[in-house]
């Protein structure tokens, strides 16, 4: 069974807490706070003002550039504020607040439950629709999908890879989508194949989800989806990383930056994104909701919700019943998720789950000195030297960190996870990466002048 070539770890997948919970449609929130930045790139411009009436699916944030994404109203009602509010990390971001009145949708959105498979649109029309719908990578990276699907003229796509790996422990939203909404994923995959002009697609799924693999295969056979294949992958974190997944599926390694996945002919898309693409292209439905896992060992109940963006995080925690005592709330899973410190923060596009760890589970061990065991070097899926990068960043030797390719770090956390001395390796590497990227950008800007 295939997997990616170097590094990686095997954390306990902890999927059992929520994997058997069917997707529930969360009741509409009374108020939705919709951030104007839920993607990588330039923040969107609000195109509504206080007092405006909006319908569900109406454009409220216009993208401001090529790498940017539209934002739509996720509920219908009145705009009560366009102002800065804290996100999950307490940082204040521009948000549009909508107070809900009923549930009225934009008329062009097809809300019938029937599955619509046939798509005759031209590739550029598909990509336009995806851009209009404000679709971004729903696996967590939040990279605008229309940019990803626009293959440059000098490159050629050969294969579409649909990411159903969900290697992050705890999270089960992709899994539930694969089990319950396989048709949408497969039609979405067909649309992506059409958009980038390839005839073959592979859905990579880790072997800890045998029923998802079986179900997808069954639907492919039953409904005759041509050129789509399900590939079971050997469970290993971070298989869901784009480069790792491409290497696992094709055996080809994407060269170091600035090369993109397309340089080895691959276009990668998450299963949840495939669903969003299906809905946008076939049903005219912009990206206004997603499946979110609310999971954790100590929660009173765990769920997989289909929820609208802008729903307050506290709503999810109320419904699931936070445990007593110390907790750590995560937007995402325990390996790459971000700590949530403000529960008034809204659900955003990139949030595939809310994980709750008890203080005990999350507490960091006491730091000892580095014993040079090289476990971080063996675990690094990018073939870097985390112990060295961390030290260089701590000593602020940015140039040397750049020489040692700190920018290639994908922040998967394998190094900190394996370190027997409990060193916060990634904490410092992240500073190094951010500083070096800033330096590189500054140099590029200076060269342009």
């Amino acid at each position: 069974m295939r997997t990616f070539p170097i590094g990686g770890i095997h954390p306990h997948d902890n999927k059992e807490w929520s994997k058997d919970k069917a997707i529930e449609i969360l009741e509409l929130p009374d108020e939705a706070k919709i951030p104007m930045i839920q993607h990588i790139g330039a923040p969107s411009n609000p195109v509504v003002k206080k007092g405006d009436k909006v319908l569900t699916g109406q454009l409220i944030g216009q993208s401001t550039g090529y790498v940017s994404a539209n934002i739509h109203a996720t509920i219908s009602g009145t705009v009560t504020a366009v102002d800065a509010y804290p996100n999950g990390q307490g940082q204040r971001r521009l948000m549009v607040v909508i107070k809900r009145e009923g549930d009225e949708w934009m008329p062009e959105i097809d809300r019938t439950p029937d599955h619509k498979r046939e798509c005759t649109l031209a590739p550029n029309e598909i990509i336009d629709k995806i851009r209009e719908a404000g679709i971004v990578g729903l696996g967590g990276a939040q990279f605008p999908t229309h940019v990803k699907l626009s293959v440059p003229n000098d490159q050629k796509a050969e294969l579409v890879i649909i990411n159903g790996v969900e290697c992050e422990p705890y999270l089960t939203s992709d899994y539930r989508n694969m089990v319950e909404r396989a048709e949408m994923i497969l039609t979405g995959t067909e649309i992506v194949m059409r958009a980038v002009g390839v005839s073959r697609a592979v859905i990579g799924v880790e072997n800890n989800k045998p029923d998802a693999i079986a179900h997808l295969r069954e639907v492919i056979a039953r409904d005759n989806y041509k050129g789509i294949e399900v590939m079971p992958l050997k469970m290993r974190y971070p298989q869901g990383g784009e480069k790792q997944l491409i290497a696992a599926v094709t055996g080809r390694q994407v060269p170091p930056p600035p090369a993109l996945p397309i340089s080895v002919g691959a276009v990668v898309c998450n299963v949840s994104t495939a669903i969003a693409i299906y809905e946008a292209v076939q049903k005219n439905k912009p990206l206004i909701e997603r499946v979110v896992s609310v999971t954790g060992k100590h929660l009173k109940s765990t769920h997989n919700y289909l929820a609208r963006f802008g729903t307050s995080a506290s709503r999810f925690f109320e419904l699931s019943g936070l445990p007593e005592g110390d907790v750590k709330l995560l937007n995402g899973g325990p390996m790459m998720g971000r700590s949530v410190v403000d529960t008034t923060a809204p659900l955003i596009k990139g949030c595939s789950g809310l994980t709750v760890l008890s203080g005990e589970e999350a507490a960091r061990g006491k730091e000892l000195s580095c014993i040079k065991c090289a476990k971080c070097v063996s675990a690094c899926p990018m073939g870097l030297e985390p112990y060295l990068l961390s030290k260089l960043a701590k000593m602020q030797k940015w140039d040397m960190a750049e020489e040692h390719n700190v920018v290639e770090c994908i922040e998967c956390g394998c190094c900190s996870y394996t370190c027997p001395s409990y060193l916060p390796l990634l904490d410092y590497i992240r500073i190094g990466k951010q500083t070096v990227m800033t330096n590189i950008r500054a140099r590029a800007a200076a060269n342009k002048k």
Binding site: P86, Q89, Q91, D326, V341, R364, P424, R430, Q434
Partner: protein, 293 residues
């Protein structure tokens, strides 16, 4: 006897030959260096702190010697006197700068700005700043893990465990600016150094609206503008809901201190202006200010 002589002779000859070789090599690769560079370097403090903007004291002395106009070169550590003597030595005009001192502009003590979460990562302000606002809800305040303390070469900064804030020892501070660079929140400012280490400044950097500030911190500037109105010298400006006292215009009259409803304007080594008793929060902040000093 012969053997002894031979040994001595061989070694002497070898020494002589090598000395000649060394001499020629040294001549060949000789680099001319202005001897004054060494002298100037000796006059500089030798802290190699980079406060002047150069890589170290050597680089600074090279610049001082080689440049005709040294008005823009200034060693904050050495101060005006040393700079004047260096300028006299080199026969150039001394740069004029008023002495400065680093000022930490956050008054959000643990009491005024309670922690709302428990940070458990690497103990570094820069790390905290990579992913969230910090343990209090304030996105602008002191994080309190002492990156500046580590950056200060002169031991002028200490982290007060009780308040959770960093304090500057004005006597030890050389205004090298290392803390200004180290603080990810940009809390430090090099301000004019008054006699007897007197100081007055707005101890807040929050650009949030007053309502947002007061939700997370009772000592923050809410941008009410009362201070700006009362200032007779026009030294105070309010921008983005944040007051700023221009150190060049301020005359230390302290009228603004009594006006500030949150006690965000800090004074050091000075008494407040006598005035009719103020309502409770100001008295409290007075105690606070006194405690801080």
């Amino acid at each position: 006897m012969n053997e002894l002589l031979l040994t001595v002779l061989t070694l002497s000859l070898l020494g002589a030959v090598l000395a000649v070789v060394l001499y020629f090599v040294a001549q060949k690769f000789k680099v001319y260096e202005d001897p004054r560079i060494d002298d100037v370097e000796k006059m500089l403090p030798g802290a190699n702190c980079g406060g002047c903007g150069f890589a170290g004291c050597r680089a600074m002395s090279e610049a001082l010697v080689s440049r005709d106009n040294i008005a823009s070169l200034y060693c904050p550590v050495a101060g005006g006197e040393v700079m004047t003597s260096i300028a006299n030595f080199l026969g150039k005009t001394a740069p004029e700068k008023t002495p400065q001192v680093a000022t930490m502009r956050c008054g959000g003590t643990c009491q005024k700005r309670p922690k709302v979460n428990h940070y458990d990562g690497a103990l570094s302000c820069a790390v905290v700043n990579t992913f969230y606002v910090g343990e209090s809800g304030c996105a602008f305040g002191c994080i309190g893990y002492g990156d500046c303390v580590a950056a200060c070469q002169f031991g002028a900064l200490t982290l007060n465990e009780e308040t959770g804030l960093v304090e500057v020892d004005a006597d030890k501070c050389t205004a090298c600016g290392a803390c200004v660079k180290a603080c990810p929140k940009g809390l430090f400012e090099l301000r004019k150094k008054w006699p007897k280490n007197r100081a007055i400044y707005v101890a807040c950097r929050s650009k949030n609206k007053g309502a947002v500030v007061s939700k997370v911190c009772k000592a923050g500037c809410i941008g009410c503008g009362k201070c700006a109105k009362v200032c007779p010298f026009g030294a105070i400006t309010v921008d983005n809901f944040l007051a700023y006292i221009d150190p060049e215009k301020c005359k230390l009259c302290r009228k603004c201190v009594n006006e500030c409803p949150t006690g965000a304007i800090h004074i050091e080594n000075m008494e407040r202006l006598p005035k009719e008793p103020k309502p409770a929060p100001t008295v409290e902040s007075k105690v606070e200010t006194a405690k801080n000093e």
